[in-house]
């Protein structure tokens, strides 16, 4: 699946997007954050306050308990500051 990062999450990880293949045990958005965090220091820094990170699956906002099965595109980003 494709993962996108925005704003300071993107800056900290050092890339805007990547394709990942997490193990089957990674079922939810929250699981995925935990799995990504273990991939390296830059991920740990991006997700150091996991409760404030927002996520979207296929362009719709989701909560950490949302299942990732079947997702084409998952995005992680800080709270939004548009308008």
């Amino acid at each position: 699946m494709k993962v996108l990062y925005f704003a300071w999450v993107r800056e900290r990880i050092g890339k805007a997007e990547e394709t990942i293949d997490p193990p089957a045990a990674v079922r939810t958005v929250g699981d995925l954050i935990g799995w990504l965090t273990q991939r390296g220091e830059e991920y740990a820094r991006a997700f150091d306050r996991p409760t404030i990170i927002r996520a979207a699956i296929d362009h719709a906002h989701v909560k950490p308990d949302a299942a990732i099965a079947g997702a084409r595109e998952i995005a992680f980003f800080p709270p939004m500051t548009g308008g």
């Binding site: 996108l4 925005f6 709270p79 939004m80 500051t81 548009g82 308008g83």
Partner: protein
């Protein structure tokens, strides 16, 4: 009833007067248009900025704005909605966002415009960075809890 809902996410500036004309042309039932224009402000003293850059999530930004425009249409008797949100770099005084709501009467237009802006602030995937006049490192604008409170007052079961 279907009403015209126009949503655009664009780099270029918009013309609020022209957009209003397009929204109201040949629509004699419209009795009120509320227009909100969000503008890049300069900030004060040490926090004064030279420019601001808006990052967005292409695709989701349009989808999310349209979803809220549809929700506004369900809640109020609207005749039309236009939302234009810019991305890229702007300087103080430049336009950032336009919300137009049209209705036969003013109350629906006022409320729908406020509802849309409150939700855009907290749910549309845009993020701002500011470049300071002081030369300090660029900073990401932080989300405000009062914006969340403003959006949550529209929540309903």
């Amino acid at each position: 009833m279907t009403i015209p809902i126009t949503v655009r996410v664009q780099h270029d500036d918009f013309d609020a007067a022209l957009e209003t004309k397009m929204l109201t042309a040949n629509r004699p039932e419209i009795g009120a248009v509320v227009s909100f224009i969000g503008i890049c402000r300069s900030g004060d003293d040490d926090l004064a900025i030279s420019e601001m850059t808006l990052e967005h999530y292409p695709g989701m930004a349009e989808t999310e704005i349209r979803r809220h425009a549809e929700e506004a249409r369900k809640r109020w008797p609207l005749s039309g909605v236009t939302v234009i949100h810019r991305f890229g770099t702007v300087t103080p005084g430049d336009n950032i966002v336009l919300v137009l709501t049209a209705s036969p009467h003013r109350e629906a237009a006022f409320q729908a415009a406020e509802f849309l802006m409150d939700y855009l602030k907290t749910n549309a995937p845009f993020w701002k960075t500011e470049k300071r006049l002081s030369g300090a490192k660029d900073v990401w604008v932080e989300a405000h809890s009062d914006d969340d409170a403003a959006a949550s007052r529209w929540e309903r079961e």
